[in-house]
Amino acid sequence: MRLDLQEGFTGDAVEIRVNGRTVLKAEGVTSRRVVGLALSTEIEVSDGTLNIEIKIPTKNLSHTISVEASTTPNLGISIQDGQIKIITSERRFGYA
């Protein structure tokens, strides 16, 4: 699965777990406004339903979402209006 941290990150710590396993732990995550992307990474996931837990301790935010691995090859995470927003897509996100 391609995981993109998109808008709204300002030097944040981010931790993402999929089915209880930590797949991403990063600090100082900052969105690049010229493209609307902070970080893009490929993560290994199993088939079936994925429980994705997103924690942004620097903003005291957390969010959990369940998706089907087969229909969600791309997951975009943004911080908007003080909340975590998720975008899923079958197409890979492109930035310009």
């Binding site: 808008e7 969105s31 406004r33 010229v34 609307g36 992307l37 975008i87 890979r92 310009a96």
Partner: protein, 780 residues
Amino acid sequence: MAKRSTAATAPTSISGQYEGEMTAPTSGLTFLDLRIDVDKRYANSPVMKRVSGDFYQLNKISVPGSPPKVTRVYRESWIVHRPTMKTVGNKVEITGKVTFWKGTHPPNTLKITMATPQSGVTPSCLVTLTRPGGQAAVYNCTKKSDSFRSLNLEIDVCKSVNAPPMRPTWNTDGHPIKPAGLPARVLTIEEAYREAGVQVKIRPGSTVIDDSDAEFETWSDAELHNAMETYFSQIGGSWPKWEMWGILAGAYEEPSVGGIMFDAAATFGGAGKAPERQGFAVFRKHEWFDNLVDGTPANADQAASMRQFLYTWVHEAGHAFNFLHSWDKNRPDALSWMNYDWRYDNQNGANSFWSNFMFRFDDEELIHLRHGDRSAVIMGGDPWASGGHLEAPPGAEYLAAPPGAMASVEGEQPVELLIRSKEYFEFMEPVAIELRLRNLFSDMPITLDSRLHPEYGGIVIYIRRPDGRIVEYAPVMCKLAYTSPKQLQPLFPDEQPGSDRYSEEVLISYGRYGFYFDEPGEYYVRALYQGGGDLLIPSNVHRLRVGSPLTRQLDRTAQDYFSYEVGMNLYLDGSRSTHLEKGFDLLREMSEEHKDSLLGAKLAMTVANGLTQPFFQLEKTGEENVTVKLSQAYKAEPKEALKLTDAAVDVFQKTRQKALNLSYRQLVSQRVDSLVALDRQKQAVRELGDLEQHLRNLGANAPVLDQISNLASTISSTPPHEVQEYHRRHRLWDRVRTHDKLAAVAGEDRPRVAKKTPAKTSAKKSSKKPRKVAKKARKR
């Protein structure tokens, strides 16, 4: 009022770009670039119901026997929102309230009168801006274009992707997913922008950049910026200007990025090098463009690729015009070149973006592009995502430049205003810049006001701080004085530079609003010479860096250093006022503590200057009707001043930087004053000799060296009491602040034609160089 058209403008529309000179109250004083946007000017181009304009000052220099030399210097911009338009008979009248983008102005009203446009006749109009009370400025303007602005785009291509199509062409009918009623037409970069109201002219030719190094894979922002500085033929000369650079490159370091306007601040993810918004890149190896074809697409995948190619070019150029993404402007549902299709679809349903997108910018963007404040739109103007314009996100206003900061010359200027200093300053080191005026005419002298300190109002200095904010330097004092006219001669080919220029050093560390260089980082300094008001000359943009505190102790000292008392001591060149005693003592302490550094040397000069003169202050007397009395609080202490600056002489001798020549001369001048006061003329002559040798080794001009050696001769050959008396009344320290006055100290008026000596040969050669800034291409 109208004349026959020779240009291919839209035949019967009013809208477009007009220009013309002021006709009243002063003919030819200023120039107006006017944009009228009240009716349909071009197919598929919405009307924004706005009128806007840019004012330029006209510099006209009379030349005997020839037409006057004219240059335009941009001053400020304004807009009229939703003007009223009336047509009576064959006359059109447009009126509205003028809003200036920057600065404080009395409320102006606009009235434009013109004949109803006729096919084959170039429209012209009378533009009147009226202030409260009836004072009116009138301009006679003629239509120049059916676009509102015009710029050149230079496109270079990397060898790895040098295959057609290199530029996008898109038939709007070419993909099955499209809006109902979408007008069928062929769009290119030029056509998309022409519809938006900007005439984009693509420069002919394209440099192929060799990216075939086996170890090179992807581009970073820094590499893209470096490529722009290397290959963009227009990168030289002064910015801002209507020039843009695009590169078709292979792949970006982040593979999901298909294009980037890399020329933005590092905090926004750009290359972090001002001026910004000069260039962008499109990455041909991005998967978006896998199905590009040279010709007509044969299937939906190819069509989508072609469409995305056009989108990416127009989108990135849009960033260079200072556009943010649509969602960053709280318009996530905008059907605009500046939105992302997948972001729009996420909110509105699959394929909804391309099903509704009409291949245009949204209205707010069009208003910015056509009518926004010039510095917020023009390349190299306001930093990206800043400026007092319609596209700025909340909170970006503080980055807006003050009026005048973006003044730029169009055409050849008669006088050069150069700012220079050393490039690196230690933390807390006083920042002084040299301001130099130079006559650029090759055949006639020019007379200018030589008072270059902002205190006299003839020079305005702008400082861009590390956070991107541009502030105007405000001197602590404002001085009223007669003008000090100085005639600068043209530099003839057989002459030494000298009489064609005039310099003054100005300390800009501290001003009315405190310290200006109190944070480590990169600063840009620019000045605007206004002289007596008849000439406007912008300077170069001078970059300097302020270092970080080298020790924890120095960092702690900053708390006390950045204070009113220290700032005023720096501003006043050392003061023994009881009100500033704390600052004077701190500077003295620091100058001793850091005596082996430039910081210490410069602080020592400030303190020593305070010691070389007696200080008088007002004291309460207690007598009836006499409340205060002026009495000497401190005697001059030349011996102490010399002791304090002994180490500074060594520092300047060891620091072999040409940019410190003036500071070293000032130090020696100050010491000569003290040495003469102490009857130590021999040492004064010796120190002048050391200075002359030092400057000679660094390639100083012969006139400067002659001045120093003449001064030494004068001191040697004049009876000591006469020299002492002269220096007591006319301190060399004061006089050497302006370069040219040193000649007067030596009692010499330099002849216009320099002596022919071997040392002058190289200078003679350099004087033959073209005087205007070389704008030659670095390629081709």
